[in-house]
């Protein structure tokens, strides 16, 4: 069972966000980069599938600048076998369709049973790329997977929806997107970290993958402006010396001032 796991290398969720001088991107100095947390669930599931079947390879792929290779190394240290780095060159912003086209071009020349994605990349938070790749390759997909049962040439995936799970049967090959709850990702062992240095990272150039949207003039979605959200009004503190009186005052404010109950 071969898996291709697409990862995004994104700013740590603890990062203080500052707006860059262009007014439409973030200032990347002092940003700590991490593998997007949902991609870790995807990678872990791919490794577990390989372990369960006792055969296959797990390949991680990302599109990004040079620093994204560090993310690939982390994945190799955790147990992926090989990696593909798609060098985005000078391109600083890729919309979801451009990313999906680049990844679909990589996947096309391979024969993976599973194409794994996180259900969203933290930062952009769009939840678009996985299903787009499925559509571009004509594959079925199951999104938001929280549990996976392996069958013969097919899987049963539990997909999280509002207040319920949809149990989906899906033939392979398929695109799956991982939701929290799917598994507990392992940490890289020291042996894994040492071993990762010897594992291969093959390189491709985005410019050679035939993605017209990588040119900003052709982008199908754009960020026109990035700013900080307006500050919320200062919190109105209600004295709590007498909890009953404080509760009454709170409920009065919620009814009469905020009008939400």
């Amino acid at each position: 069972m071969n898996s291709l796991v697409a990862i995004a290398y994104v700013p740590d969720t603890e990062t203080k966000i500052r707006i860059a001088a262009d007014g439409k991107s973030i200032d990347e100095s002092d940003v700590k980069w991490i593998v997007s947390p949902y991609d870790e669930f995807a990678l872990e599931e791919a490794i577990r599938t390989k372990e369960a079947k006792g055969a296959g390879t797990v390949t991680v792929v990302t599109i990004g600048p040079e620093r994204a290779k560090t993310g690939l190394r982390e994945c190799l240290a955790r147990g992926a076998d090989e990696a593909v780095w798609v060098d985005s060159g000078d391109v600083r912003y890729l919309d979801a369709l451009a990313t999906a086209k680049g990844l679909a071009a990589v996947a096309k020349g391979r024969s993976d049973d599973f194409l794994w994605f996180g259900q969203k990349g933290v930062g952009y938070d769009e939840s678009l790329v996985g299903p787009m790749v499925a559509e571009l390759l004509g594959l079925p997909h199951v999104g938001n997977v929280v549990k996976l049962e392996l069958g013969d040439g097919r899987v049963t995936a539990h997909r999280e929806i509002e207040g319920a799970h949809e149990i989906v049967e899906c033939p392979l090959p398929a695109v799956l997107t991982a939701q929290k709850g799917l598994n507990e990702p392992r940490y890289a062992s020291l042996k894994g970290i040492m071993g990762a240095k010897k594992k291969p990272i093959s390189e491709k150039k985005l410019a050679e993958l035939g993605v017209p949207e990588a040119d900003p003039a052709n982008a199908k979605t754009r960020w026109r402006k990035l700013d900080l959200p307006p500050a919320r009004q200062a919190c109105r503190m209600i004295p709590a010396d007498d909890p009953a009186a404080a509760a009454k005052e709170l409920v009065r404010l919620l009814r009469e001032e905020a009008k939400v109950i």
Partner: protein
Amino acid sequence: MKFLVFIEQRGGKTRKASLEALSLARTLSGGPAAAVIAGKGVSALAKDLGPYGAGTVYVADRDELELYSNKGYVGALDAAAKEEKPDAVLIAATAMGKDIAPRFAARHDVSVLADVMELRLEGDRLVGSRPVYSGKARAEVDCGAAALQIATTRPNVFPAESRPGAEPRVVTLELGEISPRARVVRIEASETKELDVAEADVIVSGGRGIKGPENWPVIRDLQEALGAALGASRAVVDAGWIDHQHQVGQTGKVVSPSLYVACGISGAIQHLAGMGTSKVIVALNKDPEAPIFKVATYGIVGDLFQVVPEVAKAVRAAKAE
């Protein structure tokens, strides 16, 4: 400017978030919009869409569409788009909407303004605003060079406005064979059949301050008094005090209810990312320095085991008036 809105239904019940998207389409276009609904036995739902802004409703009513499949439902949306030839498509950013929108977009060689919280028109171009980087920034986005513009709208943010008016024109879609490869075989409702935080208008959440899972009844009491959904911080989910489906935050659900009551939640950045766009936030916490007070509208510093039951009591008294 022609809009087509995908209307989600499950079990014959139209999703409110879809009515919000439909009302938004009417507001933006300044007139009725087209809608599409898919499922089994859904023809009867079509006329109910008129008051929310549908001038035309495309109906895909087939036995094979009883349970969701992205192939079947994207196919229905696609068939409606071929008839209507819209300039823009709106879809509520629910689990189903997020599953449909990217496939439909890729099929049309475009992308999606995902999970927008504001949407306006500049001429005939959509301009959206959406939170990015855990809500620490917001991006103003548009569809660049795209011929077809698609946006998914965050639930609970836009009003669903019902107005009297003419009944919509109903068009039955002719669909070919529907044989999805990825097929829903059954739906397992969560054991408690609780209101999901992602679609609740009021949420009461508990964090580490509740001290242990045995104390959920204190929070549940207020939740019930408010008719709210139960939320939780990552800390208590990771500690195993409650299931992940309740988690609000960066790696949980992103919510925008009218009222969010945070009980014993300090307000880690990941949590604020998930609820910072709530309209009104109440923070109940014993630590006056807790970051949650920086985003709260109203705050009470105190012992939640004393304060929360009193708030529940006061809510019940107020509702009984």
